[in-house]
């Protein structure tokens, strides 16, 4: 595996390096000392794996179309923005709008996320995006959601509701699974509760 020490590297040259190595056939790159560099994994379509140590910047994996990114740390805003395929695993927490407009691929976030998680996620043909959140979310989770699976696990069993206000407001497709309690006033416009059926159980297990 190739290792790049990214300390002090501006995102533009870092990402150009990554694309260059991938083009030369490298398919596993370890990025150490990442600090705020944007667009890591952005637009990549190979089956490469990027391992990120540190705190990657905005729009991690934006427009990604098939690669894999694993982050050992926290991610910032816009993880998986408009992602089409691939997989992002965050071993920490993530910021605002994770999974914004995802059309496919899978995003796993171990910790908490901020506002508007999974906003406008959608499905297309056999593409069904997953946004799996190990911790909790805040308001407007699943806003405008048009497809895909959004799961809030609250693995740390935080007291109270694991989601904020206006969950699923404007939802018109897809499913939000929440492990925990939701008061009716937390539901957004267009969202409704339903019981877990066999298909849901199959997916969740």
């Amino acid at each position: 595996m190739l290792t790049i020490d990214t300390k002090g590297l501006y995102y533009k040259s870092l990402n150009r390096h990554i694309r260059g190595y991938l083009a030369k056939g490298e398919n596993r790159i370890l990025l150490k000392n990442i600090l705020g560099q944007r667009y890591i994994g952005g637009g990549l379509n190979s089956d490469a794996l990027l391992e990120v140590y540190g705190t990657p910047g905005q729009d991690l994996g934006a427009f990604m179309n098939g690669s894999r990114v694993t982050v050992f740390g926290n991610a910032q805003d816009g993880v998986g923005n408009t992602m089409n395929a691939g997989k992002i695993v965050i071993h920490g927490k993530a910021g605002e709008i994770p999974g914004h407009s995802m059309r496919g691929g899978k995003v796993f976030i171990k910790g908490d996320v901020e506002y508007r998680a999974g906003i406008h996620m959608k499905e297309y043909l056999d593409q069904v995006p997953w946004l799996i959140i190990g911790g909790t979310t805040k308001d407007y989770c699943g806003e405008y959601m048009a497809g895909g699976k959004l799961v809030v696990l609250n693995l740390n069993n935080v007291a109270g509701s694991p989601v904020g206000q206006d969950i699923g407001t404007g939802i018109h497709g897809g499913i939000i699974y929440v492990r925990g309690h939701i008061e009716p006033h937390q539901l957004g416009i267009g969202a409704s509760f339903s019981d877990i059926d066999d298909a849901d159980s199959a997916f969740l297990s």
């Binding site: 995102y11 600090l35 705020g36 944007r38 540190g54 705190t55 910047g57 905005q58 740390g73 926290n74 910032q76 805003d77 910021g95 605002e96 901020e114 506002y115 805040k138 308001d139 904020g164 006033h185």
Partner: protein, 353 residues
């Protein structure tokens, strides 16, 4: 879009400006080189009982505005010390306006019966700001603001902020949208010891500015930050609201939630201070001598991350700047929209400074 970093040590332990310079540098892409600035608290411990005026003059020291302002200051205040603020032009910022700082106290006999010392100082600031070619950059005790046209890390070099020490630092990287970039329009914005750095664009500006003008403030800069500073000043200093209530007025709960909780105090505040509501996206770090407040708009339309390491607290538009300052943290979190994070200096911090 703008970038913010704030550092506060509640024991009063001071650090130099190089740390925040590097922390804000990481957020370079949040600005566009049309404004950067820093505020430092604990900058002038030997003069901490006097108001530290940083004044910017267009052109150079020969501008007649300098003597006009100084004559005015002499007539209104006891000026104990005045000096040029040292600057270090470089190839990124080859020139700038002329900066001076003054340490002063009001002439007590001149205060009108209803007037507090701070009201009097605000009056002086407002007057100088209405004079030709002069602008008060900061006016608080033990506070200094350094700002101008450029990226913040370059502004830091221009003023050599590593030469200053403070227990609290805030930095701002500006991407101006509504008002053209100019030295005075860069952030932070201060009035007395209250400083605001702000990310976002408030849609309630027209309503807020009229409310402030009605209450005797002159909003000359046409920036959101100025308006937020004055709203906070009006609410806390003039009207005596608690810090929490002042934040609540700016980012109140929904009526529906007030109804649900049956909270009559919150209803009252929103009813009487409707025109002080700050609408639209904002993330602000508001600092004063005794602490800091972090506040987001109630819909959380701008990001802010906070962290704690012992008695040091951080706030930043992006986590990476915090991780630069302290790779390991005791706690890191994003405050909810409308819920202020309030950090107070510990008792006795002034002795530590």
């Amino acid at each position: 879009m703008c970038g913010i970093v704030g550092i506060i040590n509640t024991d009063g332990h001071r650090i130099d400006g190089s740390h925040i310079q590097e922390a804000i540098r990481i957020q370079r892409d949040r600005g566009n080189g049309l404004g950067g600035g820093f505020a430092v608290y604990g900058a002038y411990p030997e003069n901490r009982d006097k108001y530290a005026f940083h004044i910017m003059y267009e052109g150079d020291r020969h501008n007649p505005a300098v003597s006009a302002v100084e004559d005015y200051l002499q007539s209104r205040a006891n000026v104990y010390q005045s000096e040029q603020i040292p600057v270090y032009p470089n190839d990124r910022i080859p020139r700038g306006p002329y900066f001076k700082r003054y340490f002063l106290k009001p002439i007590e006999e001149f205060l009108s019966p209803q007037q507090t010392e701070e009201d009097y100082i605000v009056e002086i600031v407002m007057h100088i700001n209405s004079m030709q070619d002069a602008f008060v950059v900061s006016s608080g005790k033990d506070v200094g603001v350094f700002k101008g046209m450029g990226y913040p890390e370059d502004i830091a070099d221009y003023f050599r902020i590593e030469d200053y020490q403070g227990y609290m630092w805030v930095a701002h990287n500006r991407f101006p949208t509504n008002t053209p970039g100019w030295w005075g329009g860069a952030h932070p914005f201060t009035i007395l010891d209250k400083t605001v750095v702000h990310n976002g664009e408030i849609t309630s500006y027209g309503t807020n500015v009229r409310w402030l003008e009605m209450n005797g403030y002159q909003c000359l800069l046409q920036t959101d930050t100025e308006v937020i500073s004055y709203i906070y000043d009006k609410l806390t200093r003039r009207d005596g609201l608690s810090k929490r209530d002042a934040c609540y007025v700016m980012a109140p709960a929904l009526w529906e939630e007030i109804d649900r909780r049956g909270d009559e105090k919150d209803r009252y505040l929103r009813q009487i201070y409707g025109t002080a509501i700050v609408n639209g996206p904002f993330g602000i770090v508001l600092t004063h001598r005794d602490g800091a407040i972090v506040l987001n708009d109630r819909n959380k339309l701008r990001p802010v991350v906070c962290a704690q390491v012992g008695n040091t607290y951080y706030a930043s538009s992006e986590e990476c700047s915090i991780r630069f300052l302290s790779p390991e943290v005791d706690r890191i979190w994003s405050p909810r929209g409308g819920e202020p994070v309030m950090i107070d200096m510990l008792e006795g911090y002034k002795e530590a400074v």
